[in-house]
């Protein structure tokens, strides 16, 4: 079976050089700190991202305390509240999710899954992480400077973001923009690496259409990031010019604190266009890797081939392409031309088609599968539910007429936290429970995992379901306190208190997870090389965790796609990608 897809003859072996001890790190610090090994860099990315994510989690708890019990705690004042809203959003979207999915899972999984020894540019990979760390540190620094971090909201809309009166217009906004620029620089270097690795470093037989969907998701997401982040970079530059050099790109004529400002004629809407040209693809930069990972986890634990692999791939590509022409659905209330609204509503609803294809295919993958209900599978199924929930409210908000009354209410918060907060985080957990055995060689504790899952899932639904109701009632977002208003019923305050309690339950549940992570490192059950009996290449390495260089002397050769589970007639329940056709045992008795 000449099934080797791409022309392997193009890959000449490297120069005549023994594999030298020289090339493996000799010291502890060389191996774990100043490492160029994609696996170590992935762990560094993941730890940094989760650490800063915990900061953002604490910020959200402080906000919830204020909202749930407005007159009880005096921990934060209104400016703090705005600053926490801003930092919570920015950290969660950019510094946690983007960095974790692409820098963390991308780095760990791409080389292993495509059968490469490392990323094609290991040094570039390394610098990408350290620049990311610098960006995080500069962001954190904004908590400690005069005036504190910016309080402009994570979208940083001008004129608010740079007008006097907004918290953090001295240092905060500058540090935020500089940190974002640095993040983009670091990410561009890492992103080039991921894309080129997928295109260049696949092992023999690993054609594009045999790649696991995880790699597809991360690959397309990285391309989106390379094309979308420049728009954010540009808007950051223009905002800095407005702030510092007195131009007026984004700043209209206005009166602030009784005085006319030194601006006129600029267009805040221009910023919104630039921002959302980045911002909407950003949603899919986070979502596509999640889609890919969840496809692999569902297929593995349902012991069934992914349903409609080709459609899954093309759906990822289609979503990636469409994500560039839907951005103005974030701006229906900005007063743009109704015809634009019509156009963007249409494209937005069209995106539901490939997304629905994916959801149907996940469900059909589960259908009549031999489902093993373990922790990663629970999180993955939880994701499918949550994503459907969040996606349906997306259909509401995608329609202009429905969106107008719901805009800037808690309905929007509920929608995007379901679809972009809870869903990807469930996938993050699914992925950690799924790959932890390969990363550390030990299993995570099952009971703790199940407690973590149920508390997180039920807890987050208790947080976000009531928010839909609050939103329909008209509760506006980003308010520090609501006071006495005619249209907000008194019971909504009780609901807010209940949501706050649920938020603390969810936060508490994460302690089980963190404890599990640390405890299983030493005390977890030894996992063996392939505890889930999975087909993809990362489970076929000789060592667990894989050593520097991933595979031993010979790179694996790939003979099949990643989803040969329960092949009809085959003796084994699963056939790894590197098993040649001649080695597959069939039940010939029948």
């Amino acid at each position: 079976m000449s099934d080797v897809a791409h022309d392997a003859s193009e890959f000449a072996p490297p120069a005549e050089l023994e594999e030298m001890e020289l090339y493996h790190p000799k010291t502890w610090i060389g191996k774990y700190v100043w490492s160029q090994d994609a696996k170590t860099i992935a762990i560094q990315y993941a730890i940094t991202a989760i650490a800063i994510g915990l900061v953002a989690l604490v910020l959200s708890l402080l906000m919830r305390l204020q909202l749930g019990f407005p007159n009880t705690f005096s921990l934060i004042d209104p400016s703090n509240y705005l600053q926490f809203v801003t930092m919570h959003g920015m950290i969660m979207v950019i510094y946690l999710l983007t960095a974790l999915f692409l820098g963390g899972f991308g780095n760990y999984l791409i080389p292993l899954m495509v059968g490469a020894r490392d990323m094609v540019f290991p040094y570039l990979n390394m610098i990408s992480y350290w620049v990311y760390l610098a960006a995080v540190l500069i962001l954190v620094a904004s908590f400690f400077v005069a005036g504190g971090p910016t309080g402009a909201g994570w979208t940083l809309y001008p004129p608010q973001s740079i007008s006097p009166g907004t918290p953090g217009t001295d240092w905060g906004i500058i540090l935020m923009l500089v940190s974002l620029a640095l993040f983009i620089v670091g990410f561009t270097m890492g992103g080039l690496n991921y894309v080129v690795t997928v295109l260049q470093a696949r092992t023999r037989g690993m054609s594009l259409m045999r790649m696991p969907l995880t790699v597809w998701g991360i690959f397309i997401a990285t391309i989106l990031a390379l094309l979308a982040f420049p728009a954010l970079f540009v808007s950051a530059i223009m905002m800095l010019l407005d702030l510092l050099l007195g131009t007026s790109f984004f700043m209209p004529a206005m009166v602030s604190l009784g005085d006319q400002t030194a601006y006129d004629g600029g267009s805040p809407i221009l910023f919104q266009h630039l921002f959302w040209f980045f911002g909407h693809p950003e949603v899919y930069i986070v979502a596509l890797p999640a889609f890919g990972i969840v496809s692999d986890i569902l297929s593995t634990h349902a012991r069934k081939a992914i349903f409609g692999y080709r459609m899954m791939v093309w759906a990822i590509v289609a979503i990636g392409g469409l994500s560039f022409i839907v951005w103005a659905h974030h701006m229906y209330v900005s007063g743009m031309n109704p015809l634009f609204g019509f156009f963007f509503a249409t494209t937005t609803l069209i995106i539901a088609v490939p997304t629905a294809i994916k959801v149907y295919n996940w469900v059909l993958t589960l259908w009549q599968g031999n489902i093993r209900m373990n922790v990663p599978m629970m999180f993955a199924i939880g994701f499918v539910f949550t994503f459907i929930n969040g996606g349906l409210t997306g259909l509401f908000l995608g329609n202009v007429t429905v969106d107008l009354p719901l805009s800037d209410t808690y309905f929007v918060i509920a929608h995007f936290h379901m679809v972009m907060g809870v869903s990807p985080i469930l996938v993050v957990y699914a992925a950690i429970y799924h790959w932890y055995p390969k990363i550390t060689g030990r299993m995570l504790n099952d009971t703790l995992g199940k407690i973590h899952f149920w508390m997180t899932l039920l807890g987050t639904y208790s947080i976000y379901y009531p928010m839909h109701y609050l939103g329909l009632e008209g509760l506006p977002r980003r308010y520090f306190a609501y006071g006495d208003t005619a249209f907000i019923s008194e019971s909504s305050q009780d609901l807010n208190a209940a949501i706050t309690i649920a938020a603390f339950v969810v936060a508490f549940a994460q302690l089980f997870f963190l404890y599990n992570l640390v405890r299983s490192l030493r005390k977890g059950e030894p996992a063996g090389d392939n505890p889930w009996e999975a087909t993809t290449l990362e489970w076929q390495t000789e060592h667990t965790p894989p050593q520097h260089g991933n595979f031993s002397k010979e790179l694996p050769v790939v003979y099949r796609w990643a989803y040969d589970y329960g092949l009809p007639g085959a003796k084994d329940d699963f056939i790894p990608q590197n098993v040649p056709p001649s080695n597959v045992v069939y039940e010939t008795d029948k």
Binding site: E16, L133, I174, A231
Partner: protein, 304 residues
């Protein structure tokens, strides 16, 4: 040679360069934030030492790093796969850069075709403009600002004169210079492929020279704009977009010229062969990209 023979594989040795480079970039950017903040507070007497220190570290690391990449290539350590990876890496980088300029052009088009029209009292949001600045005429380039007390009028714009006067129109000459530099860099490329070392040095030298002349003329143009035409970054949206777009293009030309100059030094040191010259080729791609951006700039910023 069997491609299955992966028993000898190359994993680069540990290196401090990335850490130092990241340290340099981080320090530089924090220094920049510091600088910007002083600028904002109107106390521009600071030393900006952090910024320069970071920049120096970064520059030193990059010199050492690139030197090492070149040396490794000469030792034959870079295999065919890595070389192809460089090609893909550069392609995607340029693609990302295209989006960078696309965003700038997008901002220009939005400003011209929407915002200015509204300020002039036309279109969906025209009523505000009409009310605030009834006298404002929406004509691009804007030489009469809506409110000259906030943004002083530029004396004149950079708009192109009639064709007959292009002989004394600096941007036209800059276009000619940059376009011919694209040709010369291509000639240098052809020379490498033919193994004509003398021609390579000559053509590449001419290209670098043309790049420097372009930058020199650009600086001339800026000085002329600031001191005689009264067109500055702060003279309304026309000046702002003009300096933003041409400025970032100029920054890219500066980088491109520097990169080509490094290639010139390498050419004199006997680097590049007819089948191994991607360092040069990447530089030339970058140069062509910068050229294409200029063609768009010349059309949309100067002429149209």
């Amino acid at each position: 040679m069997s491609t299955n023979d992966n028993s000898h594989y190359y994993i680069p040795e540990s290196s401090w360069y990335p850490v130092w480079a990241a340290f340099g970039v981080g320090t530089m950017m924090y220094g920049l934030a510091n600088w910007l903040n002083q600028l904002k507070a109107g106390e521009d007497g600071g030393t900006h030492i952090l910024f320069y220190a970071g920049f120096t570290v970064l520059a030193a690391v990059l010199v050492a790093w690139y030197g090492k990449v070149i040396a490794e290539n000469h030792e034959g350590l870079a295999n065919a796969q890595l070389k192809k990876s460089y090609v893909w890496g550069m392609s995607w980088f340029i693609f990302s850069e295209v989006m960078f300029f696309a965003a700038f052009f997008g901002a220009l088009f939005y400003t011209r075709n929407f915002v200015m029209v509204w300020l002039g009292g036309e279109g969906g949001k025209g009523i505000t403009g009409d009310y605030l600045w009834p006298a404002f005429q929406a004509v691009w380039p804007i030489v009469e600002n809506p409110d000259p007390s906030v943004f002083p009028n530029p004396g004149e714009s950079m708009a192109a004169p009639p064709l007959s006067q292009w002989g004394s129109y600096l941007p036209f000459w800059n276009t000619a210079i940059l376009l011919s530099s694209s040709v010369t860099v291509h000639m240098a490329h052809t020379a490498i492929k033919n193994g004509a070392r003398g021609a390579l040095k000559a053509w590449l030298g001419i290209t670098v020279l043309l790049g420097i002349v372009f930058l020199f003329l650009q600086v001339e143009e800026y000085m002329h704009a600031y001191s005689e035409m009264g067109l500055t970054l702060g003279t309304g949206i026309y000046g702002s977009t003009f300096f933003l777009l041409t400025g970032f293009h100029g920054f890219h030309v500066t980088l491109g010229t520097f990169i080509l100059a490094v290639q010139l030094v390498r050419a004199f040191k006997g680097h590049f062969s007819h089948d191994d010259q991607f360092g040069f080729e990447a530089a030339s791609w970058y140069w062509h990209f910068v050229d294409v951006v200029w063609v768009f700039l010349f059309f949309f910023v100067y002429i149209y």
